[in-house]
């Protein structure tokens, strides 16, 4: 079960990366991690570093992907972002990309929320 979840997540992240590229974002890192956690995508646009958390769900029957990104997860992304920037004062923000897929893996909905923290 877990294995399939990670496949779904990976698939969602790939879709999110494509969408961000189309929007004019430069992708700096993917799955940047250390022992404290992981940032799904680090991108850059208009000199703003954007940390992106991607949440993917198959169908909305068991809840929206948005609901699965809680305060704790965002705090973790924020901490990780601080580590990534080495505490330097660079304009940055945290985004969430919510992806809903069908059983076959095609996208039913993709919402990009900017500056959620």
């Amino acid at each position: 079960m877990k294995k399939w979840n990670s496949v779904t997540g990976k698939h969602g992240e790939d879709i999110a990366v494509e969408t961000l590229k189309n929007k004019g974002y430069a992708i700096l890192e993917r799955n940047w991690k250390n022992k404290f956690g992981e940032i799904d995508i680090i991108a850059k646009k208009d000199d703003i570093v954007v940390f992106v958390e991607v949440k993917t769900k198959i169908g909305e029957l068991y809840g929206l992907p948005e609901e699965m990104v809680g305060k704790g997860k965002l705090q973790k992304v924020r901490n990780m972002a601080t580590v990534y920037l080495h505490g330097t004062d660079v304009p940055c923000r945290i985004d969430v990309v919510a992806v809903v897929l069908t059983n076959e893996g095609s996208v039913t909905r993709l919402t990009h929320y900017e500056n959620v923290y």
Binding site: L64, E66, E67, V69, V96, Y113, V116
Partner: protein, 523 residues
Amino acid sequence: MNATVYTIKNNMLTKIRSTANIGLTTIPIDVEVDVATAGFPGFTIVGLASKAVEEARERVKTAIINSGFDFPPKKITVNLAPADIPKDGAAYDLPIAVGILIASEQLPDEIVFDLKKQFFYGELSLDGTLRPTRGVLLLALFAKNITGSQLFVPEASANEASVINIPVYPIPTLHRLIQHFVKTKPIDTLSYLPIKDALDSEPPEFDLSEIAGQEQAKRAIIIAASGGHNMLMFGPPGTGKTMLARALPGILPPLTEQEALEVTRIYSISGLLPPGASLVTKRPFRAPHHGVSTVGLIGGGSNPMPGEVSLAHLGVLFLDEMPEFPRSALESLRQPMEDGTVEIVRVAGHVRYPASFTLLSAINPCPCGYLGHPKRTCTCSERQIARYRHRISGPILDRIDLHVSVSVIAVDKLSQSLKNNPNAITSCQAKKMVMDAREVQTKRFANTKIYTNSQMKNKDVKRFCILTPESENILKLASETYNFSARSYIRMIKVARTIADLDHKKDILPIHVAEALQYKQMV
């Protein structure tokens, strides 16, 4: 689009009216609900909300979904304005839910709200039904002053508001409320129930005639019931002290309309009215166990709630085995006994509750109970007796006007009383006397806020209690002989006034003063 929804930068903002109760004061609250079209989905409540209000999030969300609507996956912000008043309780569930439904544009366009005049109040359960919510009467009393106001309150608590003549809609479920607005199944307003139709009197639990002997105590209890004077019964175990106390509710006069509203307000805010009840119809009779804490007796808590003294407002507070009560609890009775109100001060603010009660207490003469018994010997040491007596302080005793000894009755008298004694006064007769005396008082205190003689302040005593010269002489002589305090002196005049009222006399005659004197503690 709906007229009451403002569009500001694509956000949907709506304002629902509700109220907050701080003690017995009602403050209007605007529940502002904003459903943003942009932004990460979330649901926040601001405006000094307590834990119960914070948790409204989960209740409202589930109730909306279970009522067949969608909970919008959008950024929802709820503000309870004014923001500096602490809000507690679950009554904001309904206004928040209605606000979200309107602001997320889930309701058909043709519904027209009049949100400035409509008050929503009530707790939601997860399936969307409305649970009984306390304080509905206070909301109704507040809304009465706003012309054209309409109340939307839980069906189970709506009867509380039926005694106020305004349109009240009893709401069973959130779904039905919306149906009402869509006009598919309108809800009828509650029919107005005049207070005097709601009042009734019940037969007493004990009849005075069932109690053997104790004529003096019965007379005293009638005086106490007539004038609302505090009374203390003193005697060995098993002589009828508790029975006398239990007989008291049966001889108390029914509540007047104004009194019933005053009492019901306190019970409404405490949530002690049973679901479906509209009014407290009987005079309160509270008999807390002696394990009661000071806060339980006086009232308190971080959001101060009424205590036993306030729940006994305009009724009787019966303290059985008075020396067994914690001393701190007893001493805290001093202020309410004198002022008829109790002021509770906490960090969050201060609250004043009415507490004009008649104190009825029963004590034994000593720990073993048989001091002064004609046959049995008391096994207590002098020291034990002194310590027992010390548990009730002088200031409390000074505030008690009627001290009555309930002594042991002889066996032949007891057996006689079991065979239907025709001379014994019945509760029915006693109630008639009490009601006559109260009627005299009601006439006397028309246009004042006083109901009974015991509530008179010094200036009222001067105005209403005219002593004949001989009466004054007796009182003066007694005061000098027994060193009565100034308070005792005034209180004695009030008791004499009540005795004169029972006697249907305009002035206080020497015989009334003499009777009042014999109930006074002479030590």
